[in-house]
Symmetry: C2
Subunit: 391 residues, 2 copies
């Protein structure tokens, strides 16, 4: 989940003093070196990284993505250089800290052409350059024109190769975020939910996410009754009532890393068919988690959940992949989806979140973040996965 | 200003129930029609609009920008179509409301190739297609490959041509956001600031922005003492003390539209040279606001402020442009910058925010949002522009 445009319901970002310790300079230094190696390995003369999670991964801070070009140039060999608007130079110097000695900052003035500055940093015999996955199209198109005939390709694979394997400090952050989300989930499922609107409960979850230690509370899907059949439902004005299934999908960031967990609740005594549906789902989610281990294809984890749901006759009602990687982004590699033959490795972190959705009636989803370990998988969420009966 | 990565200081997003009324279907309908006309006028066979402010402008809601392609295809002639992942179809149907009859929704499944779906929607004899300015590079590169030999160009100019002239409902939202920001500014400048850290004051401003009616509190630059010389300073652990200049640059969104206002305060009795500096700045800001009117080049507004600052000997210390357009984005067209010969028109809305920065010592900035009217300019911020003396 991520941010929705406000439209009558709930806007979900939240404030906090980020108790974050930035990554150690030594960590960032080795990431920058690894990025150069990845570029070299893929035949890229340089990586061009605009403000984004990749930028934060390499430099430890994340400036705003704005119309003024800020671009880290990581050559396959040579010194990384950071091109930025002059008014952001003081902040960059502050944020780079120790790294400032190793990353050359090139500030441009309002009347300069920053694309020409980037051009001047690319070797004259360069053939291919990687551009950050979320770089704005306006920058991509300008760079393509200025760098011609250099070919622009996606920097995503090079960055993902590094980012999808989490280091110990990253897993620690994911673990802390997971624990905080669990705390919020525990508390919301103990509250009386009937008689409140989805939006009210969603806002309450955001507060609980912050109280539990998140730096930002980013989303709180509260999908009740027939709305539970919409996987990305936006919490709205519907009043929760007895007989509702409620999908609670919540998360935020802590020290830059995301939490993301889902549980399903039912208001009052659940009917036998919903209990049965949820039990199928729970088995499917367990089986998928149990399938995690080094060398196992991501698609196999998806298959483990999907086959159980299919056998129970709900195959058509499981309308999304089983999961997505998580880290500095809510959705990143590896994706747990049919067709992804990529073998899991220790340090991969991803959601396992099968769901069953019956349009017009109800839906259910169960989600944990799982880290692949040398021995199998470790879940970073631990609240009860059974159907939560609420008032 | 916009969002910074958390790194030891403050993360600035905030929660709220968005009391937003979405745009009327009739407004959206005419915007979609105007987009087709703009495409035609620029020789574009279609506009491809991924989730972004442009998307919100045309469809009235803003889905998350994620790795699954969501793309509105607006052909120069024909029916607009919305390609999206199936799991977001229910939300889209809900959000589109009345528009759902006119925008054909094409949902793709996890194993489909959405780029081929977009390809199938482009006329076979198409030559040029506009891509949304902030479309992710990964999508741009895929579309380029799939649509080849169709040329991809920036959709920005077409979209900006519409968006930079605000309609009455948009100006009303900007006005409400401006009034809310003024309220927060008024309150923070009445509080005792010395003895508190920048980060504490920043968090307090975010609360005040919300209390004053914003849907989201997005930023609160609190730059004190020597930090005031960094235009985009991130509020940090520095404790504010007597003798500090403090730049307060604050804003958020209300009904989707941004506020952005800056005032400068001084803790205790200000020295004569700072008073003189601030007075120069105030005159410059007044002159720039007074220069606003239909037919006046945006660059002239910049010149009006800059010439006064230059005459006073601070020309080298005014290190950024005078302003930026504002609306659904914090920074958008028109830009009030040297070289922009574009004539202002009634309905243009932008910041006027000259600043003077003396590295290592102090800085000051004054900022209002101004709307160009048939007769001149109307400021949407009205708090006292003189130096605020605080405790």
């Amino acid at each position: 989940m991520a941010r929705w445009f406000e439209s009558g319901t709930l806007s979900v970002m939240t404030l906090v003093p980020a108790a974050t310790t930035a990554f150690a300079a030594s960590v960032l230094r080795s990431r920058l070196a690894a990025a150069a190696v990845e570029a070299e390995r893929r035949g890229l003369d340089a990586l061009l990284i605009t403000p984004s999670p990749d930028f934060a991964y390499l430099l430890g801070y994340r400036p705003p993505a704005l119309e003024r070009l800020t671009c880290l140039v990581v050559p396959a060999s040579g010194v990384p250089r950071l091109v930025l608007p002059r008014l952001e130079a003081p902040l960059a110097a502050h944020q780079l800290g120790e790294l400032a000695d190793e990353v050359e900052v090139i500030a441009w003035d309002e009347v300069d052409d920053p694309f020409q500055l980037v051009h001047a940093l690319i070797e004259t015999d360069a053939a291919r350059v990687g551009v950050q996955d979320q770089m704005w199209a306006r920058f991509v198109l300008r760079l393509r024109a200025v760098l011609d005939p250099v070919e622009l390709v996606a920097a995503g694979p090079a960055m993902a190769a590094m980012r999808r394997v989490k280091g110990p400090d990253e897993i620690e952050r994911l673990r802390a975020a997971g624990a905080a989300a669990d705390q919020a989930m525990l508390e919301i499922t103990r509250e009386r939910l009937s008689g409140r609107t989805e939006a009210e409960v969603s806002r309450r979850v955001l507060e609980l996410l912050l109280e539990a230690g998140h730096d930002t509370a980013e989303f709180a899907i509260v999908a009740s009754g027939p709305n539970a059949a919409s996987p990305h439902h936006e919490a709205g004005g519907r009043v929760i009532e007895a007989g509702d299934a409620i999908v609670l999908d919540i998360g935020g960031t802590l020290a830059g890393y995301w939490s993301d967990t889902t549980r399903t609740a039912f208001v009052g005594e659940p009917p036998a068919d919903f209990v049965a549906l949820h039990e199928v789902l729970r088995e499917a989610q367990e089986a998928a988690c149990a399938a995690v281990g080094p060398g196992v294809a991501a698609a196999e984890v998806d298959r483990a959940a999907r086959s159980i749901i299919e056998e129970a006759g709900y195959g058509e009602r499981f309308i999304h992949r089983t999961g997505h990687g998580v880290g500095l982004e809510l959705h990143e590699e590896p994706y747990v989806v049919a067709g992804n033959a990529e073998p899991l490795e220790p340090g991969h972190a991803f959601s396992v979140e099968p769901g069953i959705y019956l349009p017009g009636r109800w839906g259910a989803r169960i989600e944990d973040i799982v880290v692949c370990t040398p021995d199998g998988g470790e879940r970073l969420n631990g609240t009860d996965r059974r159907l939560h009966i609420v008032e």
